[in-house]
Amino acid sequence: MSQLRHLRKTAVAMATLAVMFLAACSAGSSSDGDSSEGKANASLNIGLTAEPASLDFTKNDGAAIPQALLYNVYETLVKVDQDGKIVPALAKSWDVSSDRKTYTFELVDDAKFSNGKPFTAKDAKFSIDRVKKDWTISLKAGMDQVDQVSVSDPTTLVVKLKQPSNDWLYRMTTRIGAMFSRTGVDELATKPVGTGPYGFSKWVRGDSIKLTRNDDYWGDEPHFKTVTLKYFKDSTAENNALLSDRIDMIGAVQSPDSLGQFENNPKYQVIEGTTNGEVMLSFNNASGPLQNKKLRQAVKYGINHKAMLKTCWAGRGKLIGSMVPPTDPWYEDLTGRYPHDAAKAKQLIQQSGQADKTLRLRIPNLPYATACGQVVKSQLEQVGLKVKLEQLEFPAAWLNTVFNNADYDMSIVSHVEPRDMPAVFGDPKYYTGYGKPAFNSLLQKADQGTPAEQKKYMQQAATMLADDAAADWLFTLPNLMVADKDITGLPKNAISESLDLTQLGQS
């Protein structure tokens, strides 16, 4: 084989080259850490998990679009602050008539759209009328209360409602209250035009949305010149991006278990607040074994909420006991209505006469649902219930089976829309199958009364849901953010539809 010596030399040289190439694969070094730049051109990268399907929230449902655009690119007349209060935005002030049917808004006079046109009461009227006319998403029903909109002068808008509605003003803080330019609605899906502190500049589908500071903004200019929202499919990739300095903050942590690595690291800060997302163990009130109230109550007594939250969401989040998140004005802690009581649960199961039934727990394949589904199943089995756990792909398969066809006994899903108690329990045809007339009359009284009456009746409605065991509320999703130490003004609570970028800064 000695004649192959040269050949071998050649091959060895080649193999060495290959190894060197492999090494080159891992060569190079980089650190994209932003040097602390001045206000003039500082940029911020935020990691998020759900990418919008389009930029047009008039035709596309999905929380990701307003999360990116509302309050940042599009503004509303009124907005929700960090405590859940309604505060001025494009409207400096507003008056409600004594019959609570007429709202008169005084608008700011120096706001401009990103297409250069000034914002006037005519645009406001156009935007409100357009919801009824051109919007297709179901949320547009929030404008059904409006009878007519009139313009008194460029900065005065008068809205007449068919009947008093507290809820209507609140909906004006959501996406349906967004103000559009009369000449800027031709390309909503790709080129949003608004009056906000940021203008839309670029969308790389599957990757990121870039917003650029609006230098003509009528209000206080935000600190960051550019904000890039980067979208990740899973929390591991998102965490890695933060750890390797690709992003400066994580907008909504999806895996509380992974927070440890950031909390023990002086480079980062972790913020925990609340959201509007009630993680609900929904019951099928309309058909199947859970039509039986005693069995529904048994399930509620059978669950040890504190232990469950600790196991499946790292103990973060708040136990609520009904369909009201902690930041709503009528929030009360109703967790005491059904304390964990295994003996009582067993007794109620016997009394219900449904002891032999198997309950189908059909959950979406979302992080909180898969984590908590296992715990719910094992806790209920401990009190003697039979539970069959099935995971359905979200959104498509879950929507089809549970939501459309109500082909389920129990499910776990977070209802994230703000003030959604009427939507989720007011309609007997909704997948929860509740919609009792007595409940709906409480909702109506709440909507048409004074703020004090609203609070009283909403509390009664929430209590009725709890006592009827219309569902079991596991917890509200926490708002968890991780950011580099020097980022300031992080919105602690995520209780509007928007990820509000206006207060962010750097120390």
Binding site: T10, T136, P395, A396
Partner: protein, 316 residues
């Protein structure tokens, strides 16, 4: 020869037809309603119905299939259900990204496989050859996503040499583009390189045993020269074939790797569209992948007809 050519072409076209029916049928039986997904949880039945009509989902399946195929043939890929944007340009954008990834991975794989495979062949009876052979077996067994996760953990999170994920178009920032391309391309190349290495090894082994190599040596060429001048070209034929056939595996691997590295390529588009039940996009993307793989196989077939004289004369 002509008969073979015709037969091959007929098989190619028939495969295209059958796969288009299969792709369409899969989409039709997938549970979930695109209109419902687009409109979300609060939409009324009438709104969903209206959107279904807008999408043309209320028509008979045969009609839907017909108009889809008509669109494909006339290069009109239609519009996305979810974003209502034209699909063609979207796929073209994503395709560029995926091609960068796949081609880079292929180049890395070849650069590793040719020298290492050759060395393994030459030393196949010695310890170093056996060790390399074992190493390549390990490489074959490591799935691309695992390679990706390991590379990220080591080079991005621990050492911070390279970005953990993401994508920058080469025109925007060539430096960043390269940095972000390295890890995903390497994780895709690990498996491909290992598979290819074993092919190179056996191809070179075959050539080393051939008479003409001994003849070349007898004419006074050094072993290295003999192998390079006469051997490698012959060894290249099966290797190039393999490379072409590996395109399918590479594309499937790219889907997974794009997910791990958050790269907006064809694979990400496919997975997102499946989740959103943007069925028309799924059909188009899958069909394009199928066409790519079938076409390459068809071309390889033709190449063989040209290269291998035994096939040309009609003698079996």
């Amino acid at each position: 020869m002509l008969l073979r050519l015709l037969r091959r072409t007929a098989v190619f076209l028939a495969s295209l037809g059958v796969s288009s029916i299969a792709v369409f049928a899969f989409m039709a039986v997938l549970p979930g309603d695109p209109a419902r997904v687009a409109l979300g949880v609060n939409a009324s039945t009438s709104a969903v119905q209206q959107l279904r009509e807008e999408f043309g989902l209320d028509r008979p399946l045969v009609t839907q299939y017909g108009s889809w195929v008509h669109g494909l043939v006339t290069f009109d890929l239609g519009n996305s259900y979810v974003s209502s944007a034209a699909i063609g340009p979207q796929i073209a954008d994503r395709m560029q990204v995926t091609l960068w990834l796949v081609v880079t991975a292929m180049v890395i794989a070849v650069l590793i496989a040719v020298p290492v495979g050759t060395l393994m062949a030459i030393r196949h009876r010695r310890l170093s050859g056996v060790l390399l052979s074992g190493l390549s077996q390990v490489g074959v067994a490591v799935p691309a996503f695992l390679a990706g996760i390991l590379l990220i953990t080591l080079f991005a999170v621990r050492l911070r040499w390279l970005p953990a994920n993401g994508w920058t178009p080469p025109v925007d920032d060539p430096g960043m583009f390269l940095k972000q391309l390295v890890l995903p391309a390497c994780s895709l190349a690990v498996v491909q390189g290992a598979v290819l290495t074993r092919y190179v090894r056996s191809a070179v082994l075959d050539v080393l045993r051939e008479d003409y190599l001994r003849t070349a040596r007898a004419k006074g060429l050094r072993p290295g020269q003999a192998l390079i001048r006469h051997g490698l070209r012959n060894a290249a034929i099966p290797v190039v074939t393999m490379l072409a056939l590996q395109l399918a595996t590479l594309l499937i691997g790219a889907v997974v790797v794009e997910r791990v590295f958050v790269i907006p390529g064809l694979g990400s588009l496919l997975l997102d569209s499946v989740a959103n039940r943007d069925l028309i996009v799924v059909q188009d993307v899958v069909m394009i992948l199928v066409v790519a793989v079938l076409t390459v196989n068809f071309l390889v077939d033709l190449l063989y007809l040209v290269i291998d004289p035994r096939l040309r004369t009609g003698a079996s």
